[in-house]
Amino acid sequence: MEKIRPLDFSIQQGKLNNMEEGAKEVTIQVQPEKKTLLQKAAEKAKAFVKNLNPIGKDKAWFAGLVTGTAESILVSPLLPFPVGAWAKAGINALVATGVYAAVDKFYDIKDKMIRRGSASEVQARIDANSEKRLKAAQRVKSFFGGVAAGTILGLGAQIGGVSASEIGSNIKDAVPSTGEIGDAISSAAGTVGEAATSVAGTVGEAATSVGGAVVDVGGSAAESVSDFVSDKVVPVAEDAPGFIADQASTGEEAVKSGAETVASTASDLATGAYDKAGDLYDSASGPASDAANTVADAAVSAGETIADTTSTVAGTVAESAETAGNAVKDFVVDEAAPTVSDAAGTAAGVLGDAVSAAGEVSLRAFDTAVETVNTPTGRAVAAAGLGAGAVGVLVTKHRNGSAR
């Protein structure tokens, strides 16, 4: 046994030609005179992967291997297989048949590829990716070269019994070095899988937590809404009819009060006018005509005062009604719109009736005042005034004649 130089089959390192950087040294114990079958295959595969570099001189070789369209690689029954050894061995048809079967197995992939575009389009995409991203293309080639070598030669390690005398324990050391790619990928995949599982778990927990928080917030919000409805909306809704009734009552009272004021004022004025007329009648010894005029003026003034007062009271009533209406409106719009519209309508009707009633009272009061002025007493006062005036004229003429 002797130590030979390291087998630099570190495909995963991407150092395909030389092993200066990051090379992984593998010591293989072999019998120099008897290289094993798989060791020879491994060395040739190593050379193949080394020659995959499209930037170097082997690009043309690789392009030749691809030969034309992607479709030829994917679906042709006779792949552009390097047939040198096969032809020499007289087993070309066997291998071709095996390869055909393998490719045929992947017809579903071919269908997918064709659906993505024509063969020439696919080839154009391959070329574009290769030329645009040389480093990435090299990495992809190294990756699949490593996967292929790891799978084929790694599988070979399990058939060590085929050439037991030649393969021996040496393959055990040689194959793992080539199988490192597969192991590395499996390990990476496992790590990724574990990480993904961990992340998924974390995300799941986070989602559960968020979901719980959402539920809590939703529950809290629902409780808040419920509390708000119970504490604020319901009482307001319950109070609304009373409030409206109060407002309506206030408006009605204001109208009534206004009407009473009108009636009272009108009555007072009428009484005052009546008293005034009586006083004038009683003191008719003065200039009758002046007294009559004064009575007439007083009567007119009383009527005007009554009219003005009625108007003022009516305005007050209207303002009260408006205030009450605004209050009702604000309350209805801001707080109890949906539920109190009927009540508001009722209140408005009550107010309308009240205003109407106040108007009627005012009108009656005015009419009363007018009627008072037109009573027999009033007319008597006026007649008395006129009579007094006539007497005064006669007296005056008599005095003037005597004096003559």
Partner: protein
């Protein structure tokens, strides 16, 4: 049937290929050449498929990976995303199918229906 059983059966199929080659008197050099060619064919086929389905963004990510090991992980993941197939499993399937096709054809030849070589 677990994964190890499957692997054993596949290994058996490939073992048969090598046994046939040895039985037919092929030299070690010839057999190792066949293995090498298989590696070339399989890697070329999957390389072409990957390059056809990888997008510009995929290639950019692969190129910008800090290390080749990190790039390998990205390539494996993206290949599975784009084709639905695990690279190792797909390669294994390719090899298994090759071995089975080879053996079937050999048996057919031996039964009196030889294939033209």
């Amino acid at each position: 049937m677990d994964q190890q059983d499957n692997m054993d059966i596949k290994a058996f199929s490939f073992k048969q290929v090598i046994e046939i080659l040895e039985k037919e008197g092929r030299s070690e050099d010839e057999i190792s050449q066949i293995l090498e060619d298989l590696v070339k064919t399989a890697s070329t086929r999957f390389y072409a498929e990957a390059m056809a389905v990888f997008s510009d963004e995929d290639m950019r990510e692969i190129e910008e990976a800090a290390t080749d090991e990190a790039a390998n992980v990205i390539i494996a993941r993206k290949f599975q995303e784009k084709t639905g197939a695990d690279a190792n499993a797909a390669m294994q399937k390719f090899l298994d199918t090759f071995a089975q096709g080879f053996i079937d054809q050999y048996n057919k030849d031996k039964s009196g229906n030889p294939t033209q070589s």
